[in-house]
């Protein structure tokens, strides 16, 4: 064995709910632990016995652990310890914390994806309460928000988070890395009831199919059949050129997102607030997605402090046909959700249209008019969709489209 010491996790004055573990594998002396923890009086013994159990599980009987703990929950400690064990041994075993029953749920292609909250994949403090903020989905991110040197350890953390954190009904998504690392990431999440995988920097249908195939392999190996949806993220000119084939690449694709930071960088232009440089690309994504009957999802709004700017951006997204946006901070969620939901004037207008339509039907009239305007079938259908959306969001009492094809909520 070449290396005998390894470190994983984070510590420092600003770190919360995390720990840093240094493991030194030794040849004798049993297991010794130096624990420095702000919760030592309450959890010191349980942290030590947990670590000893995990080391024994990995057949390590002689080792020294140095733990700097800032109140890490037990699944975090387990992830950090497994990460250092993996750095030092070639173990094939996994130490899995219990899968909470709340997380054994599958998803539904049709559900709303207005707001999806990005969570850096190696920062437990941001994950623990993430589900409380009523985002439609949370995205545990392996890609841009994790430093290269931390990518390996984040896999154990994200896996344990999927098993242990109650996200209170948010759809549980993971953004994998690009290329082969991304395919390896799948091994750590697919067996743990992840609902949707985001495929970053997607440029062609092959990359979607590679992900889909790997997911199937992992599922077969683990005897799983739950549906895992896909959301390719378009972040380059080539991706935009191929967006139609990407949108149709698999029946698992539930939506297509656009990432504007990378896209504008690929164009070699700055990203502006008015977004003229990306208007065409965003429209392409919307049209390709609508044509494939999947959800077009807009890029994140990166100025967390500018709530008014965000509000404007949401309204323009909605006007273009997007059905959701990413969030990088919980305070963005309510604004985005509100923005994509129909407002009261839209709801009132839709009610009037439906009423006029129904009255016309009852009176045996073929032509429907509201005031001086003629109402044709697409207008009625759009009004029906608006009311159904409002009803699913709890803004109005139950409303269901009565053509027999639409489901209940």
């Amino acid at each position: 064995m070449d290396k005998t010491v390894a470190v994983a996790g984070n510590s420092g004055p600003k770190v919360r709910s995390d720990c840093e573990i240094a493991l030194e594998i030794r040849h004798n002396g049993g297991i010794t632990i130096d624990l420095n923890s702000k919760v030592k009086a309450l959890y010191g013994e349980s942290i030590k016995s947990q670590c000893i159990d995990i080391l024994h599980y990995f057949d390590i009987n002689n080792a020294h652990l140095t733990i700097n703990d800032s109140g890490a929950l037990s699944f975090v400690i387990a992830a950090r310890l497994e990460a250092v064990v993996n750095k030092l041994t070639a173990t094939k075993k996994e130490f899995l914390p219990d899968l909470i029953t709340e997380n054994m749920v599958t998803t539904d292609r049709e559900r709303f994806r207005f707001s999806r909250l990005y969570l850096p994949g190696n920062s437990p403090a941001l994950m623990i309460n993430a589900g409380l903020h009523s985002a439609d989905g949370i995205i545990l991110d392996f890609e841009d928000s994790v430093a290269p040197s931390k990518k390996d350890e984040s896999r154990f953390l994200v896996r344990n988070a999927l098993r242990q954190i109650n996200f209170y009904g948010a759809e549980r998504m993971v953004r994998i890395n690009q290329g082969s690392r991304g395919l390896e990431d799948l091994e750590y999440v697919i067996p743990h009831y992840v609902n949707l995988i985001l495929i970053p920097k997607c440029e062609d249908k092959d990359s979607v199919q590679r992900v889909e195939n790997r997911i199937k392999e992992i599922q077969v190996k683990n005897g799983l059949e739950n549906e895992v949806l896909l959301m390719p993220v378009i972040e380059s000119a080539l991706g935009i050129e191929n967006v139609t084939e990407i949108a149709r690449s698999s029946s698992s694709v539930a939506g297509i997102a656009i990432g504007l930071e990378d896209f504008t960088s690929d164009l070699g232009v700055p990203r502006t607030s008015e977004g003229r440089e990306s208007f065409y690309a965003r429209s392409r994504v919307v049209i390709a997605a609508k044509a494939a009957r999947i959800q077009p999802i807009d890029s994140v709004y990166s100025d967390v402090g500018d709530i008014n700017g965000l509000r404007q951006s949401v309204l323009s997204s909605k006007a273009m046909g997007f059905e959701g946006m990413g969030c990088i901070h919980p305070r963005q969620i309510a604004v985005i959700r509100q923005g994509f939901a129909p407002d009261s004037s839209e709801i009132e207008k839709s009610k009037e249209i439906i009423k006029a339509f129904e009255d016309a039907g009852a009176n045996g009239l073929g032509v429907v008019a509201l005031g001086s305007k003629m109402i044709d079938a697409p207008v009625v259908m759009r009004a029906q969709r608006t009311l159904e959306l409002a009803s699913r969001l709890g803004l109005i009492p139950d409303y269901r489209i009565n053509n027999g094809t639409k489901k209940e909520n």
Partner: protein, 519 residues
Amino acid sequence: MAVKTVVNAAGRSVPLEINGTPVIPYKGVGKHRPEGKKYAPPVPSCADFPADGNKVAGSLEDALRKCGLADGMTISTHHHLRDGDLVSNLIFDIASGIGVKDLVWFPSASFPCNDPVIRYLDDGTINRIEGSMNGPLGRYVSEGKMKGTAVLRSHGGRVQAIQDGEVKIDIAVLAAPSADPFGNARGTGGSSACGVIGYSKADYMYASKVIVVTDNLVDFPCFPMEIEGNFVDYVVVVDKIGIPEKIVSGTTQITKSPDRLLIAELTARFLEKSGILKDGVTMQAGAGGTSLAIAVFVDEILKDKGWKAKFGFGGSTGYMVKMLEEGRMDYILDAQVFDLDSIRSIVENANHVPYPVFNAYNYHSKGNLTSMMDIMILGATEVDLNFNGNVVTHSDGYLLHGIGGWQNCLHARNVILPIPLFRDRIPVIVDEVTTLCGPGELIDVIITERGIAINPLRQDLIDKVKGSGLPLVTIKDLKDEAERICGKPMKPQFDDRIVAAVKWVDGTVIDVVRKLKQE
């Protein structure tokens, strides 16, 4: 030496004697009604004071010597200069220089800037502190290093202890942002303005000797006076009584933490749905980030409904001032001032009135402001299955906070504690509080990010919010959820030695803090 203890009405084992003086164990809410007269200070004579009204002494040391500073005396101070206080430590620098021993420091609160007094606890200048103990001071006491036993009282309990003669102040040393040579003083003006200095009221009325310390000596009369010169023995002028930026914040800020904002929003929704928030509401909310956020959300509701609050009791902040100035609050009654907007307002606005805790919180008086308030927002380090609250120790057993006005405020109509279910890994909702500071029968609603638990004694509130869509749970649900997430914590291990007593608002002993077992 073993101390004789009994089990009090809250089931806590407490001593019958503290620092050599008999004490009364807690009997229950509203059960202890002492008889007799209030304590009174010695009778002074004008003949002993300069006819021209000039009481300026040469220095603080000079004044302390003239007041007869001696071993075993009780020295009181107020905390309006907060973490910018330059006066309190100076008293003990002088006392130590003179060689005085075994003093009792009786502050209305202490701050991190007072940590240097640990030196004087070590060298015997100070025997004990009877007042709030934060940070390193609390740690020092919890480790059993203080010679005497600390006594923790609420702001109102401190007034009660002074009036009932439980604490006899020998010398009150009262910092004042402005004062005249006669001793009239106020909290505004000068470079160390703190707005009000009402915490000193019981001190200057009941202390044997009173020294006013100022860095802004003004001509007689210093008006409007909060300290009346007729009670003052000496006036001392120093270069600086405080560090301005540590006395008040430039602006107080609502929390940016999304989790705390969530709790604040849930609290505002609860207040609205329960009908507690109404036109003419009376309320108090602190200056903590979550409380401020609640005040902002409440203000939005008032604005929407076209309602206004009758009065708000401060700790005033710019947020309250905004409500006052925009016509959504009739009065601010103010015990302390937290930011520059509030200082401006209290100077300019006749409806922003100093209102000392002396009048608002003292349980041995003819009624309290607190029981007239509809909304009381408070915090806690721990709450247990019986809704009992702890504010002085953390779950690890360390004494880390003062009681402040917390116990007094429990008498409000609706006591609401917006608190996180756990802090890092430390559960806030527990089986049994480490230290009992407030009986659960007075705590009505616990609002966490993971659900709202209403005290079963408040069936009226439960009925009002039923079916409102609010996430209602039981306190047991909350405790179980905290333990599911954090794991079941161990209890801290204590020695027998009592390091601090916690007094209830009526002066009885509700609980004690014991020395932590050292590893």
